[in-house]
């Protein structure tokens, strides 16, 4: 009986216990270890290292690759968020009809989500290298005749296309669910009142989509900021470091260049930026809720 009372009083803490422990052990401890190594010149190979104070952090400031990588990661993330939301809503609206064949399309549009990024990289490399140039030659479009992910000017769009190709599948499903939660009579009433398509969207559908929107926003933000697999498989960060994301940069420094201490300094800076952005984001969204 005592035990039951205890449970009923402390349930809230018991419920969060396991995730808290897991995060401390498997996330914060390694982060702390990384923080420690960011003040050393450790290569990551042998047990020997020396403390070099803030040198790693000072070096970041003059690191061209780091600046380029921050720039790419941020623009890529922004484009991904916009793309996933806009395309997601557009397609979801098309799929939210009671017409013939729509259920087939609903299944088909989810397909990209199931491909692993390694497969995706392999296939799209070939598409960009042979497929598109062939189409370009047939239609005599000069722009398409080159390899779009090998050219410094166009690689951003090529990578973004592939990322969206896979990335919109989940948002479509989520937005579709949001749209289907709108009671039919509301939409019918709007039609009778003579609301046009645009009015219906802004005044009826959008409010219903807000929860889905915040969900998709966070998911896209996450996949942009932590992008690794797809870029690694598709461009390896090239050409000329144009598509090196922060995750890839840390990986390259730590594992390919044997500059583990320095890689950790970048990780720490990244972590601080993320904390600041998260705090701002929470503050802002609180203001909206109030």
């Amino acid at each position: 009986m005592k035990l039951k009372e205890f449970f009923n009083k402390k349930w809230a803490y018991l419920f969060v216990l396991v995730p808290i422990l897991l995060q401390i052990i498997f996330f914060y401890l390694p982060m702390l270890e990384g923080f420690f190594y960011s003040f050393t010149d450790w290569t990551g190979l042998t047990p020997n290292y020396e403390f070099i104070g803030m040198t790693n952090y000072a070096n970041i400031l003059s690191d061209q690759k780091f600046m380029k990588s921050i720039g790419f990661t941020l623009t890529f993330t922004t484009a991904l968020i916009i793309g996933e939301i806009v395309i997601g809503i557009l397609v979801a609206r098309l799929l939210n009809r009671k017409a013939k064949g729509v259920s087939f399309f609903r299944t088909a549009y989810f397909f990209p989500a199931v491909l692993s990024t390694v497969t995706l990289g392999l296939i799209f490399k070939q598409v960009f290298n042979y497929g598109l140039p062939q189409i370009g030659e047939l239609l005599n479009i000069e722009f398409l005749q080159q390899n779009l992910i090998a050219n410094e000017q166009t690689v951003f769009w090529g990578v973004l296309f592939v990322a969206l190709w896979q990335g919109v599948a989940m948002p479509i499903i989520i937005f579709l669910a949001g749209l289907q939660s709108i009671p039919d009579d509301i939409m019918e009433a709007a039609s009778i009142d003579g609301a046009n398509n645009r009015q219906k969207f802004w005044h009826i559908e959008l409010p219903y989509l807000l929860p889905s929107l915040s969900m998709v926003f966070i998911m896209a933000l996450k996949s942009g900021l932590t992008a690794f697999d797809l870029i690694y498989a598709l461009t390896g960060g090239g050409p000329n470091n144009e598509t090196t994301t922060l995750g890839l940069l840390v990986y390259d420094y730590a594992f390919k260049n044997n500059q583990y201490g320095y890689a950790n300094a970048i990780a720490v800076v990244l972590f601080i930026i993320i904390v600041v952005v998260s705090v701002i984001q929470i503050r802002v969204s609180k203001r909206f809720e109030a």
Partner: protein, 275 residues
């Protein structure tokens, strides 16, 4: 008349989208019936000769074992995630507005969302070795740990919207303890969110390459399907035939699972009233 025109336009747009989606799928399936030499030399052509050797190779190389491993790992990890994360989310959603400690915990638990895994890759690998957890159970624990931030975020948002506090109060009046209330009432009500996180986490775990590589590299009988798939590719020579065949196997499984659950997923998500 106008309506008909827009309808046709919609079909055209959906059709173009479908082609964009279909082409890579088609290429994957075609490649799985080609010999490796033809995949390198003629990626877009039809299989010539048409061969089942790649699939035969997968059987000979013991794909069954890896398939089993992946299935066990995915199911176990998802079960654990569905057991622990909504629980914590429920507690946080209920207490976050009147208890500072829970607001802090929420921040603490979700901060990991945006941190690239590469950042903690080395410390985590050496830690798992020291704990003696470089094995399948260890990998499952890691999946549980790394699923927490995003999954928790999704559940907290959902509970706040879809499971009103009044339910708790009503349950309390009926003499229902918090535990019972959670498992009997709140947990089943979260079904749409279970479906959503199941897809998100399921796809991630089923296709993940890096974590299994770091944790399970010692004994190849422990490998997961992605490790097995990737093992056909070397720096100097890649055996693309069996690689593509193994992708087809991996994809088919998820598609079958998706087709079975599709109805539940979409209708589940909508029934749950994304209010």
């Amino acid at each position: 008349m106008e309506q008909k025109k827009t309808n046709i336009l919609h079909y055209v747009i959906l059709g173009i989208g479908f082609c964009l989606i279909f082409i890579p799928l088609y290429l994957t399936v075609m490649s799985s019936f080609k010999e490796t030499g033809q995949i390198t030399g003629d990626f877009f052509g039809l299989p010539n000769p048409f061969t089942f050797d790649n699939f035969q190779r997968l059987m000979n190389d013991g794909i069954g074992q890896y398939f089993m491993n992946s299935t066990v790992i995915s199911i176990a990890a998802i079960t654990l995630i569905t057991l622990f994360v909504p629980m914590a989310a429920f507690s946080i959603a209920r207490n976050i507005s009147n208890n500072k400690a829970f607001a802090l915990m929420y921040g603490f638990l979700t901060l990991g969302i945006f941190v690239p895994f590469q950042v903690i890759m080395i410390p985590i690998t050496s830690m798992m070795t020291k704990f003696g957890l470089s094995n399948i159970p260890g990998l499952i624990i890691l999946y549980l740990a790394y699923a927490v931030p995003q999954t928790l975020f999704l559940y907290v948002g959902y509970i706040k919207l879809a499971i009103p506090v009044e339910l708790d109060e009503a349950a309390a009046i009926d003499g229902c303890g918090k535990f019972k209330m959670y498992f009997k009432i709140a947990f089943p009500l979260m079904k749409p969110m279970h479906a959503t996180t199941l897809i998100i986490n399921g796809l991630w775990i089923w296709n993940d390459f890096l974590l299994p590589l770091l944790i399970l590299n010692k004994d190849d009988s422990n490998w997961t399907l992605p490790l097995f798939q990737y093992n056909y590719q070397g720096q100097y020579f890649s055996d693309f035939g069996p690689s593509f065949a193994s992708y087809v196997v991996g994809i088919s499984v998820i598609l079958i699972v998706y087709l079975i659950f599709q109805k539940h997923i979409i209708s589940g998500m909508t029934n749950g009233a994304v209010k």
